[in-house]
Amino acid sequence: MDGVLDAKGVRKSYDGREVVAGIDLALAKGECFGLLGPNGAGKTTTLRMLLGLTAPDAGTISLLGHPVPQAAREGRIRVGVVPQVDNLDPDFTVSENLLVYGRYFGIPEREVAARLPRLLEFAALETRGSSRIQSLSGGMKRRLVLARALVNDPELIFLDEPTTGLDPQARHLMWERLRLLLRQGKTILLTTHFMDEAERLCDRLAIIDHGRMLAQGAPHALIAEHIEPEVVEVYGEGVEDWYGSHAKALSARAELHGETAFCYVRGAEPVVASLKTFPALRFLHRPANLEDLFLKLTGREMRE
């Protein structure tokens, strides 16, 4: 065991409702691990317990070799955290945010000041050191929060939905920075509900729902394990008729949701051929992805 982060049988209830119902995690040094789950699945509570900000009702946690929550503070000395909601200090400039945050780790100001140019460069904010927080865009704020999480040169970085609310350009820049951190040997634990994000970044991931782990493994291995390799999505006027007469018979598994039929298949030719006699229908043939897996395991009903 590398001992970066280790959790066994972690549970937490609020008012008799079990929010985290037995989570097991073990992160190896240098890997990117994703926690995926719908809203309310227990992701943020899990992160809070791993950081020692909430005591679990049961289970054991070790953060960089320190027992949590007993010695969580010692563990957090080499941990960086990017919270779900930006909590930058609005009374300080960009640079001051980094300098002040470094003091919470007991790092001498001179040391943080020396790291400042590199942190600003990392956040692509080289020219914004003296800017006010209110003048930054959403993507800039998010990158500054990431730079702030690096102020103590952490071994392990927690990211709670790092790209929620960002535009595509800002998301890609964020991903590029996270990959850079992984190349430097940092370990990352991130939560997300963006499947493309998880597929791009994560070496391994766990899908959780209702506080339980439904599956854990490498993204492509998990897809191969749970989902047929190809998917044909069929939509258009009269899709119900076609679904009733052809989809079920020609697919290993088929589902109709709203106006789209999802056909999970090992070879798409029979399905595609059957569509020739239904000119009003359109289709998309694609490889199975993480979203298919996610929806299969967590269901399609809305979570709010």
């Binding site: 957090r76 919270p83 200090d89 001051e96 780790f105």
Partner: protein
């Protein structure tokens, strides 16, 4: 038990608040001086024509001794309630700090001491104004500086309890109108409590501002206060009890 959960890093949190204050110091100090100055000059000059002397001293000097304590009470109360709530809830500053190796106990201790520091700054500012106005020249006034810090701890400790249970800023109006304003009127800021009905005096004698003024006014007027340690003890007890209750409530609110 608290010693095991505290670290020296609470100083970094105190310093964070100090740095923010320093940015706005000019406006803040001006406010600290101008507001009580208006009270002093307005009430003082107005009443002084009717009441030349109270308890053997000039009314303006009598009033100044009370105003210093009252201003000090308000300074830490505003900081612990409005500014503290902003940092805890609105800006989520505490959350960011607690992701670093800083405990909730560190953060709340820093807030408590910082709010008391605001009282010290504010008390010192108004003291200098009173000196400039020539209201007193007694050397015992220097003890008002540490007293201001103690008054700050007392009211900030209690104020943090309100912050711990507040859902929004509106809630704090109750604290000001039901707790602080009555103390301003009953505890002898503007007039001696000796003229009040016995039962009001009994109530007033339990209120912290009474004890603050019991030390602060004599010090300002150059008289060594009677039972100073007892009064200081009451102030400390209010502050410590408040701090302990606030911490218990905040653990429940933020670490559950």
């Amino acid at each position: 038990m608290i010693a095991t959960v505290l670290s020296g890093r609470w100083v970094a949190v105190w310093r964070r608040n100090y740095l923010v204050w320093r940015k706005l110091a000019a406006a803040s100090i001006a406010g600290n001086i101008i507001d009580p100055l208006f009270y002093l000059l307005g009430f003082g000059m107005g009443f002084a024509t009717m009441i030349p002397e109270v308890e053997g001293v000039k009314y303006m000097a009598f009033l100044a001794g009370g105003t210093i304590c009252y201003t000090t009470m308000l300074a830490s109360s505003f900081e612990a309630l409005y500014s503290g709530f902003a940092r805890m809830h609105v800006q989520r500053t505490w959350e960011g700090i607690m992701n670093a190796p800083v405990s909730l106990e560190d953060v709340v201790l820093a807030e408590w001491v910082w709010a008391a520091s605001k009282s010290l700054l504010s008390g010192t500012a108004i003291l200098l104004v009173a000196i400039a106005l020539g209201l007193s020249q007694s050397w015992t006034m220097v003890f008002i500086v540490p007293l201001a810090f103690l008054i700050g701890l007392s009211f900030a400790g209690m104020g943090l309890v309100m912050t711990a249970i507040a859902k929004s800023y509106d809630f704090f109006t109750y604290w000001f109108t039901l707790v602080l304003t009555p103390q301003m009127l009953l505890c002898g800021v503007f007039f001696p409590t000796s003229g009040l009905p016995a039962w009001v005096q009994a109530v007033a004698s339990a209120l912290p501002l009474t004890h603050a003024i019991a030390i602060g006014r004599p010090l300002f007027l150059g008289v060594w206060p009677e039972s100073a340690l007892l009064h200081a003890g009451v102030l400390a007890a209010y502050g410590l009890a408040g701090f302990w209750i606030a911490l218990t409530l905040l653990r429940r609110r933020l670490l559950a």
